[in-house]
Symmetry: C2
């Protein structure tokens, strides 16, 4: 696997575009399109929130019907969630506009929206934007980058990555972009993530690979514990690489999954590090749990704790809060067996030993906690299961961003 500094247009046959459609934001781009010149197999995972945004319902229908996808149209600014029938109509209008402009079928168009919940998107703006996007499609690093920027909301950085793999000697590529900064506590999926590949892979294997890949990536991050109404992760595979179709769990499938897992984990970490107001990437590793499920539950409890997140922000080695967050996770364990380390590029310091706080050097702890990326490693000493979760610290800026998001 070779990691590329590229995005969604890296695989053969994919192009992208961006535009400023005035959906809600002024003075910036707010729509993106991804287009494949050949029909794509497609797989998706979506939010588990009972309240699902209109585009989530639209995409699920397209994927379930097993249709061949050709394009994705995404807008930022308005989430098209809690918008009733009018919201579903907007999806239809968007798909119709894209279909006409690109000479494809409406049911080949996937749709994404992100932004404020409860506002309606103006039909004339999204149709004009969609038509404009169709004229601007480009296959380039710059086009990938501009598309990744257009789908940002409170994100401070665009997020994209690509990887090159060999499938039985044939070169294939996977590209991806994602956005997400607040309302991040994905469950079964993430905020918006769009993955493209020119690998030939069946719908069934594509879904299997994607569903497995999100478990240890997007499902392990949390910025604020709020599972969004719009979480969507889609992967499109157009087969233009020319490899032998992957239709079983063979070596090519494993190679493909390995690259997909790498991409999703990297993007998940980028999202956590760019969490609203974040000043630290906050990683929690749980080792020695009795089962994988317990390791996941423990790590997510610690990564989601407001008090632990505030301590990371304050560079405060307040070790008791981390024991406390393990303790209320809902997993039974012996506190007297637990060791906890704070770790970063600057070193490692043992802050809980057999459940109690040993004397430790506060200066070294401060140095460790001053790094951009901080790891809290919890050794449960109860079994062999591990999990890693990612989040960010809780800062003044998180409150500032979210106390007046709509204005």
């Amino acid at each position: 696997m070779k990691i590329l500094n590229e995005g969604v247009t890296a695989p053969k046959g994919f192009s992208a575009a961006d535009t400023a459609a005035g959906i809600k934001y002024q003075g910036r781009t707010d729509m993106a399109m991804v287009y494949s010149e050949a029909d794509c197999n497609v797989a998706g995972t979506y939010t588990t929130n009972v309240v699902k945004a209109a585009p989530v319902i639209w995409d699920r229908d397209v994927v379930v019907k097993g249709g061949s996808a050709r394009a994705i149209v995404v807008n930022s600014g308005i989430a098209n969630a809690c918008t009733g029938k009018e919201g579903m109509d907007i999806c239809k209008v968007t798909a119709d506009a894209a279909a006409e402009a690109l000479d494809i079928k409406p049911e080949q168009v996937l749709i994404g929206s992100t932004g404020v919940i409860g506002m309606q998107i103006k039909a004339e703006r999204i149709t004009a934007g969609t038509k404009d996007l169709a004229t601007k499609l480009e296959k380039s690093f710059e086009a990938s980058e501009r598309a990744a920027k257009a789908i940002m909301t409170t994100d401070t950085k665009h997020k994209m990555i690509a990887a090159e793999i060999e499938l039985s000697g044939v070169k294939a590529t996977i590209g991806a972009m994602t956005k997400g900064s607040g309302m991040i506590h994905p469950n079964m999926c993430t905020m918006l993530c769009y993955i493209t590949t020119d690998a030939a892979i069946s719908n069934e294997m594509l879904q299997k690979a994607l569903s497995a890949s999100i478990v240890d990536s997007y499902n392990m991050i949390s910025v604020d514990g709020d599972t969004s109404t719009n979480d969507t992760c889609l992967i499109l595979a157009n087969g233009l690489a020319g490899n032998k179709l992957i239709d079983s769990e063979n070596d090519d499938y494993k190679t493909f999954c390995e690259a997909l897992d790498y991409i999703n984990k990297e993007l998940a970490k980028q999202m956590a590090a760019d969490g609203e107001g974040a000043s630290h990437l906050y990683e929690v590793i749980v080792n020695g749990a009795k089962t994988k499920d317990e390791a996941v539950t423990l790590s997510k409890s610690v990564v989601s704790s407001s008090l632990c997140k505030a301590a990371i922000y304050g560079k405060d080695a307040n070790c008791g809060r981390f024991m406390c967050a393990l303790g209320y996770a809902g997993v039974d364990f012996d506190p007297d067996m637990v060791d906890i380390y704070f770790e970063s590029d600057a070193g490692s310091v043992l802050v809980v030993s057999k459940g109690a706080a040993p004397a430790f050097d506060e200066e070294i702890a401060l140095k460790v906690l001053s790094a951009d990326a901080v790891t809290v490693r919890c050794e449960m000493n109860a079994g062999n299961a591990s999990a890693t979760a990612w989040g960010c610290d809780l800062t003044y800026d998180y409150v500032k961003i979210n106390a007046d998001y709509r204005s």
Copy 2:
């Protein structure tokens, strides 16, 4: 029932004291004692956190053994949690000092601690403080108030209340004090809460009344989603009112429970309103849910959401976040049936109608959200069950308080 502006010394035979023992804080009181001149029946509820502070283990043992209690000794500053065998020894030392000074048995002494986790309490300070408390016991409003102040940590207000009831014509009194501001997400109990009564009531009925009462009071509040290691709620009944012993679910029991429920709900709301950094009491009412459990889950999901709490702080009628938080609660419902109102002393405004956002007057919404106490009322229109949860908004000050709590 008559509500009294009194505290733990209101019932017959109870006195209280405070002192500055230098446990950790300087220049303020940090220990309190509550004493009964007669033996008390006692009941308790405790944190469900797997990591339990030493005093929680001590109190549970005293209550389980069915012993008759005579005194409670509480310190603030250090939580005596994650302190291993040394922490249990401190409980024994404290109980011994109180027993000697008060001429009672060590197993008649209940203990409470609140503050930083992972630090050890110095034995000589807590024994000196305990002895000093025993010499200062007083039965007065002022003594109740000073005791309630001594157990505060990040609380900005002390919290106490009392009620007078008639049990088959005999006057009885219940008094209480509580503390709690951060690490508040009680489960089976609350932070520290001490209730006294001169009613004659059996151990069994006392535990039944307490266990039932916390369900709709302390278990329905959340400041930050962090369930503490030290949550303890104790009730002592010395029988000095002279009423006929309550040993069944008779009318006197119901009168007693009604007053106890009132007291616990009031103190729970006071704790939520005084949540770390809080500028609003934030109440969430869920009506029309299918079951009580679902109503509880939905209301706690909305009251705990960081994004909803930040919107309350910003007086931002960002209604979609409230739908979103209902949606990820883990309860199945039809979003198209849901109505949501923002309410306060300043009025009521419908912000979600049948799952979508109607046009509403932003100025009225701003007025409603500018009140000190704000209610979000969610009408599920799916059944007849209701629940009410209390929390507070998420503010800069919450982050400030918790980014550097130890220093």
